[in-house]
Assembly symmetry: C2
DNA sequence: ATTAATTTTTAGACACATCTAAATTATAAA
DNA sequence: TTTATAATTTAGATGTGTCTAAAAATTAAT
């Protein structure tokens, strides 16, 4: 049985693998987990010993299938709880991440599966991220990052990557909510910002924002 | 901010104070928390230093008002979650205690209060135990322990103290469920067992069972 | 290809919550 | 009231997850 800390490492390694499509390095992991590189090294050794990941000194780390299964189970719980909080308890999408980071460590398969039933087997969470099913399978979201869009191209906003409270509040304030139709009007070369249109209103968004928005073309 | 372990000590001290109406002694607490007396001593020192309880060497321990407030907050969460699990997720009353012991440590006042609203401010949990409100106030259950009943006296079963899975399964099997009408038929002096009647069926229950059943006369 | 800068690991320490074994204090019995 | 028993505390140790500082390995730069 894994500790909360071990589960968090595994979850974060999984996320970084997905994002960078490469082995995960110590410093990046330390930054994400908000700890020191030396602590990460210690933990990686421990998880390697438990055969949840492949770790080679100085070469980075990669989950094996056992580790991946655990990551998906934690992610499943996280996203089901987020969905519960928004759909049943009337939380807004910017309030749920931190609470779900606690709830994701509750150990009860019965609870997770009953929650899934209660929510009617949701496929995505309030941020548009796919929810792994009871077997760890998740649907592939057919979404393209806004930075891949051409001028005059438009799409429907269906997934956001950054779940921080401030970022989501910013999006809400500007009507950038799941389901919104976004059209690219202009691109600025010097800072990679875009001018976009939503609900007939036009405004500029920075590269940082652009990189976290995923749309269906 | 308290650790899960600290919260569990405070919760248990509160429960023992209520049950024995006296200061709590080290060995009993150790037994309840399933740890050693020496560990209890260490923890009591720590909690005394945090000013959550009054501790005098060799003399036992008592929560102060700050500690009591924390106990009530944990109990509130525990019982709200139990109610949620039974009423919304279709758990049975014998399955909820262990899961609720995890959920009671989730830190989010917003979550607790929204859960309370969602459940429509329940006054008692699935075992008939009162749920403290947002201010820590709980209704006084007008229940009398079955061991106080005379022969031929009857009452409605409204509260059970022991929440262990096996005990609750035993009760269910014998139709001893919340709301059942129970009549005392006979008392055995030698082992303090009772013969009772429920739903026109008669059977014997041991002192151990009797002490955990509370009824409305 | 050697040096410099960066990344990662090791070594040794600490806080937390626990343990065992020994010492101390309180309580009950003779 | 002294002794025996029981309850409690202290002392010292352990495992987990973290830290700082120093050492080692890797990568980038000249």
């Amino acid at each position: 049985m894994l500790t909360k800390s071990e589960e968090n490492y595994i979850k974060e390694i999984y996320a970084l693998e997905q994002k960078h499509k490469a082995d995960v390095n110590t410093n990046l992991l330390a930054e994400k987990i908000e700890t020191k590189a030396s602590s990460v090294t210690d933990m990686l050794k421990k998880l390697a010993k438990k055969e949840l990941l492949i770790y080679q000194k100085y070469k980075g780390v990669k989950l094996n299938s056992k580790g991946e299964k655990i990551a998906l189970s934690v992610i499943r719980k996280h996203r089901l709880w987020e969905t519960f909080l928004v759909e049943k308890l009337d939380f807004s999408w910017d309030e749920v991440h931190k609470v779900a980071e606690q709830l994701e460590h509750i150990r009860s398969e019965k609870l997770t599966n009953k929650l899934d039933v209660y929510l009617n087997f949701p496929k995505v969470d309030p941020h548009g991220n796919p929810i792994p099913d009871v077997n760890g399978k998740l649907i592939i979201i057919d979404a393209v990052c806004l930075d891949q869009f051409e001028i005059e191209e438009e799409g429907i906003f269906i997934e956001v990557k950054d779940e921080s409270e401030n970022f989501l509040k910013y999006l809400t304030k500007n009507n950038i909510v799941i389901g919104a139709k976004i059209k690219v009007l202009e691109k600025e070369e010097f800072d990679n910002s875009f001018k976009i249109e939503i609900d007939r209103k036009q405004f500029n968004i920075s590269e940082n924002v652009i990189k976290n928005l995923y749309l269906k073309k």
